[in-house]
Amino acid sequence: MNHTKLSTIFAKNRAEELPDDIWNKYVLPLNYEDANLLSFSKSTVVKGGRGSGKTMFLKYHCYPTIFSKNKQELLENELNNIGIYWRPDTDFSNMITKNYLDENWKVAFNAYIGLSIFSEFSKLITNFIASNYKNENHINSAKELIIPDDFKELFGLKDRIRITDFDTICQKYRSQLNDWLNYPEGKPPIIFGANQKLLYFINTVIRVIEPFENTTFHIFIDEFENLAKEQQILINSWIKHSQSPLIFHIAYKKHYKVTSDTLSNEQIVDVNDYRIIDLEKLYEDNFEILASEIILSKLNSYFKEEPIYNLSDIKLIEKRRKKLYQDDIKNRVKKIFPSLSRVEIVIELFKDKALYNKLEKLIKDGLNYQKSKLDYKLFIDLDRKEESLINAILLHRDKINPNELLKNFEEKNISYYKDLINNNLVGSILLIYTSYQNKTCPYYAGFERFIMLSQANIRHLLELCHQSIIEYEKRNNKEFFRIKNFSIPIEIQTKAVRNTSKTQIDKIANLGKYGKDLQKIVIRLGKIFNLSQKRDSQSMAEVNQFTLKSYEINSSDEDGEKLINECKVWGILQEENNNKQTTDKDNARYLYILHPIFAPYFGISDRKKRKIDLSYEEFKNIFINREEEYQKLYDKYSNRWSISNPSKDSIYNTNSLLDFI
């Protein structure tokens, strides 16, 4: 009997909370061969948004995972390329700058990075000795490794010490460097060029013993975007000249603007000096498979079920590409997170008295709008619910003649309704549901929707699962949980989806310096899209995107540019090329899509469908201006779209506690 809650397995969705050894835990993406960080003889820039699993990806390539004791055997060829992960304390490294230390910053930064990586080399050898490597002679030679003679002098040691003990010395110097930074008078306690000394150390010490004689060491610097510009420039210079046996790689948030300058006049250039791996793109193609595997591997670990394959093992990727296997795992996850088809959703809608009443009202209002005396009941047929729903919105469109519509309906004109259903059914369902704040639409439930809502973002996906299981645990005794019949009902999922969506909006305030501004933008945009979703005619169904009408945000509009970029960096808005110009005047280059994870809270669509064009003034009212100006814009749209029930509560409630009860 497992005493922990199942939900906690899904709560641990942050790579750093996992150990450094992630063998058996990390699910390799199916197209991993193209992205293997250890297979490339130049540097790599790893880009990914928040929650894209950057740190996990980097750690997969590092020595704690490569030397994992969970591996049955460590093979010799696995020693050809070994990674070392380093995430600086960026508040601390911000002190090691020109600003604080003048010209001393460079020697101090070299010391900080050098000592940290030397210390990692010491741990690397210790881990190697403890690994399941079969060649005893090699292990013994690693045990005997000692620091070179000139290091004795550099580190002020009496005797030469073993590499395995070198970590303690490095930590001592890191501490001394810290003391010096507190009172930065004179020179730092230790001075050496990190890149040169590391190369020297690798060549004269590590590569001398047989197991490592051909090894290339890869240093992965995480959170590169948070380093100071001069520090980035220094590391770029190392990247420019990176080659075996020492290659530097960097990882940073997508859309972040980092410098490509080096210490010389040259810049580092894509293809020539490095390649880029965009993690979201890497996951995008096979995200449904990856997501199924991640969810099942978590459930397997909880239920102590033997997994089909070790998902961290590159040798097994081929087997994971088989259709039979993929269909099987997808079906298993779909059983856990079932969904309703659109037809079934409509059936549920008709069963719910309040929702059905809303449908009737919509038809009556539509007939009034058309000044038609026809009986509203004629437009409803319980055997043709989808068509009835479509009737309700069509009656609010100017170009519709109620008599002609009725004729098509009575004649059961399938071809008339076919496209209308395809294009308007989801919008119509959401329209009915937006009338009731306490009802969440079952449309948002199911594994396929989770994939859509999370958009290749692993953190969002796991949070959707986590919240669903929390809700499930509240109502079920875990003693009866079995993996075979484990399935989360639709209504639990929809509640969980709304909770997740709301929680993600709450958390925007924590994203960087401008978090509160970003949160405000999401709420304001979401409310406008929600307003559009309430349009009875649904003539512009499923609006969740915008373009900027006849202008572009550029550096002349500092605040606008900054906020748009922050929205991109934090994955709040997705920017795409505007390929669907609506009119000749629509010359906007970019299309901005609100991340679908926010859609359930606002009751809007998660599909990339329609957009609104914002004027510069409207953009400013949403992104920058005070609430009064925004409210005027909201009211303007409310009138223009003839919304009968705009959101009465114009204020977003950050009180999540009450919102969720």
Partner: protein
């Protein structure tokens, strides 16, 4: 040497406070609201020697009376040590966390015994923000700064550190200040959080605002400590208890709650530093809004003395 809070006096009016004007000096900061104006005007009428101190967190220097700039590590030698007074008054209403920390850090190094009085006036109420869509937002901060360290209280915790640390945040009204730390840390540096909530708060029920606003951040936290929002002495004791119960663990303070909590944290940092124990500090340097509070509430005078530290 170490600092000790010997008395806490509470007043309902400024003119109830008697000030020693002989051999006295006042340190004060940027005034942002009418309560800091009132405190400054009352004290500066009696104390003629006064210095306005501000700290530039980007240049790591202190600015005296708006013009003289001193690097943080020379602030003691080139400024505090050149003063020769008996009664030191620190206006914590207008001074920021970093300024109070660096003033006290350097006063504590002075050889002869001094009297230090820290004055703090509570606000009567905080203003609500009407310019945002958020229902219960207070209008306290223009923009949050970077989480810079404040030397000499540096302590790096990175992927190469031998262990992760425990973060001790003091909770105020602005949950995104803690949320930001959690989000950017992402589990990399902190293995545990032990927040301190101001209880009792300045006003009855204000603790509920703080709790409600931190609902999201506190979700998975089981260990919350309490200390009166106006009492640095108690805060010091709470911190010391946390320290004793987490022996050998690295602690990092995030003084993002009330000013008296911040003062308790400052004295704790200074005393531990004197004992050779490294405690980390992280602070976000919010740019406070002008006139963010209305009126003046209770006024406190915290009397400190410097005691000679006996190494055991």
């Amino acid at each position: 040497m170490s600092l000790e809070i010997t008395h806490i006096y509470s007043y309902s009016q400024l003119d109830e406070i008697s000030i020693e004007n002989k051999n006295a000096i006042l340190f004060y900061g940027e005034s942002l609201d009418n309560r800091s104006d009132e405190v400054f005007s009352y004290y500066s009428n009696i104390i003629s020697n006064k210095y306005k101190i501000t700290y530039d967190e980007n240049k790591f220097e202190l600015i005296i009376n708006g013009d003289t700039k001193i690097r943080h590590h020379l602030f003691g030698e080139n400024f505090i040590e050149t003063l020769s007074f008996q009664n030191y008054y620190i206006d914590a209403t207008s001074l920021g966390f970093a300024e109070i920390l660096l003033i006290l850090h350097n006063l504590n190094k002075l050889k002869s015994l001094r009297s230090i009085k820290i004055v703090y006036a509570e606000p009567k109420k905080y203003k609500k923000d009407k310019s945002t869509p958020f229902k219960d937002d207070f209008d306290l901060t223009k923009v949050l700064g970077n989480f810079n360290k404040i030397p000499p209280y540096l302590l790096p915790i990175d992927s190469n550190s031998p262990s992760k640390a425990i973060l001790i945040p003091c909770l105020g009204f602005e949950n995104n200040r803690l949320g930001r730390i959690m989000e950017s840390d992402d589990g990399a540096r902190y293995e545990k959080y032990i927040p301190i909530l101001g209880l009792p708060a300045f006003n009855p029920s204000w603790e509920n605002i703080s709790l409600r606003r931190h609902h999201q951040e506190l979700k998975n936290i089981t260990d919350i400590k309490f200390s009166p929002a106006n009492n640095p002495y108690e805060t010091y004791q709470v911190l010391d208890d946390i320290y004793k119960n987490n022996f050998r663990k690295t602690l990092v303070l995030a003084p993002i709650g009330t000013k008296p909590h911040g003062i308790g944290a400052i004295i704790f940092l200074i005393n531990k530093d004197e004992e050779g124990i490294k405690i980390g500090l992280t602070y976000d340097f919010p740019k406070k809004k002008e006139n963010r509070t209305d009126g003046i509430g209770k006024i406190y005078e915290y009397t400190c003395k410097i005691i000679k530290y006996e190494r055991g």
